[in-house]
Symmetry: C2
Subunit: 335 residues, 2 copies
């Protein structure tokens, strides 16, 4: 049984982390919900009981074995070393440590064994990279993978609770003919599509697009894989959808891909287009699995495949994956 801290416990991801710990029956002796001073004193519920949120501080981790962080990169950098110092293993949902060579970046279905080599911090991947690699890994293993081109249609919950509220308020305002000015995003998100997630780099790619490239490479252990992404924010509350056009080393038929993906861990095939069955953001909401469908041979490339991949960004894209890493630490004695 473990003493588990959740840093960022009142946020969009942190609150789902607590629910996932509860649902999966993670062996928690003591739950420590932590958050900024502003949120300290609030209560969160765990297994039907209220837990008081304490302020996230350097001395918050005494006696703690596992610390799930989802409080932004700056707080991870500020407080994760103290948690490690206190003897906890940190599973960090921010991007702060993901590309650090000394830190494993892990999706358990894809590269669980990387957890073993941790030195106190394990990084939880980006909410697009995580579902993407769950679908790509079985294909890469079977026939090789050469290039991945994706366009993601991402929900506002990836930005956080304020963005969910902004989409609700703006949508209601738009429909009533009285739309409020945007605050969270630089443009209206209601009934719009914003090709802008994170900051722009020199090469014209956004931070999000660069994360998808770098993290996909690291998670698959393919440092030279050709990856290109266009990441788009759309007016969806929860669930990221990904249109993937990939090129394999050996040709793979659509049926062959379906067979591989049906058998793969963490994936659910939803691919009966004649019956209008394909992955949908609204149906992936609150589900731990990744959904894949619309699988077809890409007519524009001799070894191309196209598919549509959907995952709940707060679950497999964040909280569920973090708790899976914690489970692996415990089960394998890697704590």
């Amino acid at each position: 049984m473990f003493d588990v801290a959740v840093a960022g416990a009142t946020g969009a991801v942190g609150s789902v982390m607590i629910r996932v710990l509860e649902e999966r029956g993670f062996p928690v002796t003591r739950l420590r919900p932590l958050a900024s001073a502003r949120s300290a004193g609030k209560e969160v519920e765990y297994l039907g009981k209220p837990f008081r949120v304490e302020e996230l501080r350097e001395d918050s981790f005494e006696g703690c074995q596992i610390a799930l962080f989802s409080a932004g990169g700056a707080r991870s950098r500020a407080f994760a070393p103290a948690a490690v110092e206190a003897g906890a293993v940190v599973i960090d949902n921010s991007s702060a440590y993901r590309m650090d060579e000394a830190v494993p970046l892990v999706v358990p279905e894809v590269n669980e064994s990387a957890i073993e080599g941790h030195t106190g911090i394990i990084a939880n991947p980006n909410c697009v990279a995580a579902p993407l690699v769950v679908a790509l890994k079985p294909i890469a293993d079977a026939v090789g993978l050469e290039r991945v081109v994706i366009t993601s249609c991402q929900s506002v919950s990836g930005t956080g609770a304020a963005a969910i509220e902004e989409l609700r308020t703006q949508s209601a305002g738009y429909l009533a003919g009285d739309e409020p000015e945007p605050e969270v995003y630089p443009h209206p998100i209601a009934f719009n599509a914003l090709p802008h997630i994170d900051v722009f780099g020199e090469d014209g790619y956004t931070g999000e697009e660069t994360k998808v490239r770098n993290e996909t490479r690291k998670l698959l252990g393919m440092p030279d894989l050709a990856v290109s992404a266009t990441c788009v924010r759309i007016p969806v509350m929860r669930g990221h959808s990904i249109a993937a056009h990939i090129e394999t080393t050996d040709a793979l038929s659509a049926d062959g891909a379906r067979n591989l993906l049906t058998a793969a861990p963490g994936l659910i095939l939803r691919d009966e287009p004649g019956g209008n069955v394909y992955p949908l953001a609204r149906e992936a909401e609150d589900r731990d699995e990744v959904f894949v469908g619309r699988i077809r041979e890409d007519s524009s490339h001799p070894r191309g495949l196209a598919m549509w991949i959907v995952g709940d960004n707060l679950r497999k894209g964040a909280a569920t994956n973090a708790v899976q890493i914690a489970e692996s630490l415990v089960t394998n004695g890697w704590l």
Copy 2:
């Protein structure tokens, strides 16, 4: 001065056709709004005066020189031959004749000269293919084009007026916690992303995705061009957005592409990411031009470029392009 019929005058596209004729000062002596028996008797406004909608029939076209059709493929097939018989040139917004070898498929900025060879019917392209080729043509001419992979994020107005109403009603219901069942689409469109536009083919591509491939090839005059599309319906009222990842024959820098596209007809460059300037569906609404931005060298291919293209599907994707074809017929004496 011309006698101009608009078949489907009360629909989402037909009503915009009448506005575009008006705005562009098309030389109309007599406007004939036509629609199904159900809509006959309604009135449409043109230059401040009411015009009574007549029933679309075989004998509707006596003395008519130009007939703009946007009443669905079945009605185009049923009534366009009668219009041609009566001496009119038909500009057809349905997909009925687009791939007919005897029928020119035209975007005036791209292949205006194809109009000259018409034998009574000219096809207006799909609402994704039209803006796409406006952006691709200058690049194809300058450096050659080998492959086009796109994901489109399409608005509900492409489906028609009932879909706009469905998105409004569903969104309001969702926000109030009382969402009505979907009627126009097989799944909820509010706060969702549906990878399903038109019917599914044997190869797993939808009709819309196949149209994008076939029409892009025909419009660019490149019958073997490799094209692959994933077409997605998103909760946007108006304006289709396209994430394009293309491969050119000779390499082209992002700056080179920007220079080409700034000078190209019908295009507006919106590409200052540092200032949050990129094409947006909401800003393209009711605009005749195609907007392009997010231009970057695609890091996953040595001759790759990525960009974000947005056009109003009811304007450049339909009504504006049809009226431009009518203008070309008149200006060039090709009627």
